[in-house]
């Protein structure tokens, strides 16, 4: 069964629409909200992972787009550029799922890809711009 991550952008007037309800009920999909910032009257963003059968998958995405939501494939890989990294550890301060951690003994940067939700907080926080996402 396909599983994909999407970066959704909601126009201000669509921010309150219960889209996950419709994805489950009407399209038999399993949506998993990894990150969301949605406020009534403002543009919203959501990182949504969708799992489901191929045919309803495309229909679900078409539904989102018909609702005026911009649907883009989300980052699927994250790269730590060791040549630029100075091992300061600032990325670990903003990593909510604790995918990035400092080894307290060695001062090494540990990255557990399984825990990463591709929220991009580290990309923005890194003072060396040593973290990049790829799609």
């Amino acid at each position: 069964m396909p599983r994909k991550r999407f970066d959704l952008t909601f126009p201000p007037n669509r921010a309150t629409k219960p889209i996950t309800y419709h994805l489950v009920k009407d399209y038999d999909l399993t949506p998993n909200i990894l990150r969301a910032q949605i406020q009534p009257g403002q543009e919203g963003r959501m990182l949504l992972e969708i799992t489901g059968p191929r045919e309803s998958f495309d229909a679900g995405v078409a539904f989102l787009e018909a609702e005026g939501i911009t649907v883009q494939p989300a980052a699927t890989d994250i790269k730590l550029h060791e040549d630029a990294c100075v091992l300061c550890g600032l990325c670990t301060a903003v990593c909510r799922p604790a995918a990035l951690m400092m080894d307290a003994e060695t001062g090494a940067l540990l990255f557990d890809k399984e825990k990463c939700v591709y929220c991009e907080a580290c990309v923005v926080a890194c003072p060396r711009r040593a973290v990049t996402l790829s799609f």
């Binding site: 550890g89 400092m102 907080a121 003072p127 060396r128």
Partner: protein, 390 residues
């Protein structure tokens, strides 16, 4: 068991000096006792590698023909100071690019020079009888410059705040992104390896001390700006918040990009990670006591950066060992922590400095003048006045 500077330098010169990093010395003192450690070891090396915004370089370009008195100067589109003599300038690390903003600042120009890259130099002038040229547009590398040296007004802060944010919005600071409602805490000190935490009352580190500056030999030039020896201190005499600072000089031409790294703090500005290392002579058991302190002994103050005022509220104290564990507790809430100062690089610096001393005969210099001592001065605020004071 007191040792003198001369005795220690003689042992360095003859290759007999016993040199350890501050971490190694802490372990030795724990294993063999402070007295034995103080007797055995001659020099303890320290190191720190963190963002130090008050840093920059003095550059001399040499004269073009016909010559120009550079009034406005840019390097890769980053403004450099034009208020010195004809072809001298000062480039500060936080200066943003005219075109790229904070993504490329003075620090990035310096890193490009260090990496041997050519940098575009442009300058403008009104023209004078002795300096007729009004404009120049050329490229320079570090080898083209007559002089290129760091002159950093404030480096190696003795301790620093732990930053948190109790407000209800994310804020971007020079201590990184602080998440709302105590969402995280950042800290910025090398802890047990930090130079001035190892010599808390500035007995051995003073004007004229020969030190490690971004991989090159350099000197402590003066007290750093905002040097505040009157910060609150713990039972070992170690400050529990930002206290002493150093103004340093070091040769950019001998420096290494391994120990100087440009940085951009999103929503704040450009800065630079500076690597500073200071050797400390183990003169007696008093200094040995502070040299032996570990991250579990050193404390920092938690400060609420959600309050954008000069005096920000304090939310208690934590040790560097707690901060390094990745999580601290504030008012019963577990808060994830992240460092800004690189422990890994601080260790590299302390160990590199150890190599300089043991293998390259890098001797220690006794301060020509002590830094302002505890009790001597405090940092004054800037008051906003409506008219000239009487």
């Amino acid at each position: 068991m007191a040792k003198t500077w001369d005795e220690i330098n003689a042992r360095i010169a003859s290759g007999e000096a016993v040199v350890m990093t501050a971490e190694e010395f802490g372990s030795l003192a724990a294993d063999e006792g402070l007295k034995a450690a103080a007797r055995k070891v001659d020099v303890v090396t320290t190191g720190t590698f963190g963002p130090m915004c008050s840093s920059g370089v003095v550059l001399n370009f040499g004269h073009s023909d016909p010559p120009i008195r550079m009034g406005q100067i840019t390097l890769n589109d980053v403004d450099a100071y034009g208020g010195l003599a004809a072809v001298d300038t000062y480039l500060g690390v936080t200066q943003p690019s005219r075109t790229k903003g904070i993504e490329y600042g003075g620090a990035h120009v310096i890193e490009d020079l260090l990496r041997g890259r050519a940098v575009r130099l442009r300058a403008w002038s009104a023209g004078t009888d002795c300096y007729p040229r009004t404009e120049i547009d050329t490229w320079v590398t570090i080898d083209d410059l007559n002089q290129a040296y760091f002159f950093n007004p404030r480096n190696a802060y003795q301790n620093y705040a732990v930053a948190v944010n109790t407000s209800d919005r994310t804020i971007h600071t020079y201590l990184g992104t602080l998440l709302p409602h105590l969402g995280n805490a950042t800290f910025c000190s090398a802890g047990a390896l930090s130079p001035l935490l190892n010599d808390p009352t500035y007995r051995t580190i003073g004007v004229g001390s020969r030190i490690f500056v971004a991989g090159a030999p350099g000197y402590v030039a003066w007290e750093g700006t905002q040097h505040n020896p009157n910060q609150s201190r713990d039972e070992h005499g170690v400050p529990v918040g930002p206290a002493g600072t150093l103004a340093v000089i070091g040769d950019l031409k001998q420096a290494s990009p391994e120990f100087f790294s440009a940085a951009t703090f999103t929503g704040y500005g450009a800065s630079a990670f500076m690597g500073i290392g200071v050797p400390i002579p183990v003169l007696d058991e008093d200094i040995a006591e502070t040299l032996a302190l570990t991250d579990a002994d050193l404390t920092a103050t938690i400060v609420d950066y959600g309050v954008a005022r000069r005096s920000r509220p304090s939310l208690g104290h934590v040790t560097y060992a707690q901060l390094r564990s990745g999580e601290i507790e504030i008012d019963g809430k577990r808060v994830q922590t992240g460092p800004i100062s690189s422990l890994s690089k601080a260790r590299r610096i302390a160990s590199e400095l150890k190599t300089w001393i043991t293998e390259q005969g890098f001797t220690l210099t006794q301060p020509l003048q002590l830094l302002p001592q505890p009790g001597s001065q405090s940092t004054k605020p800037l008051e906003i006045r409506a008219e000239e004071a009487n």
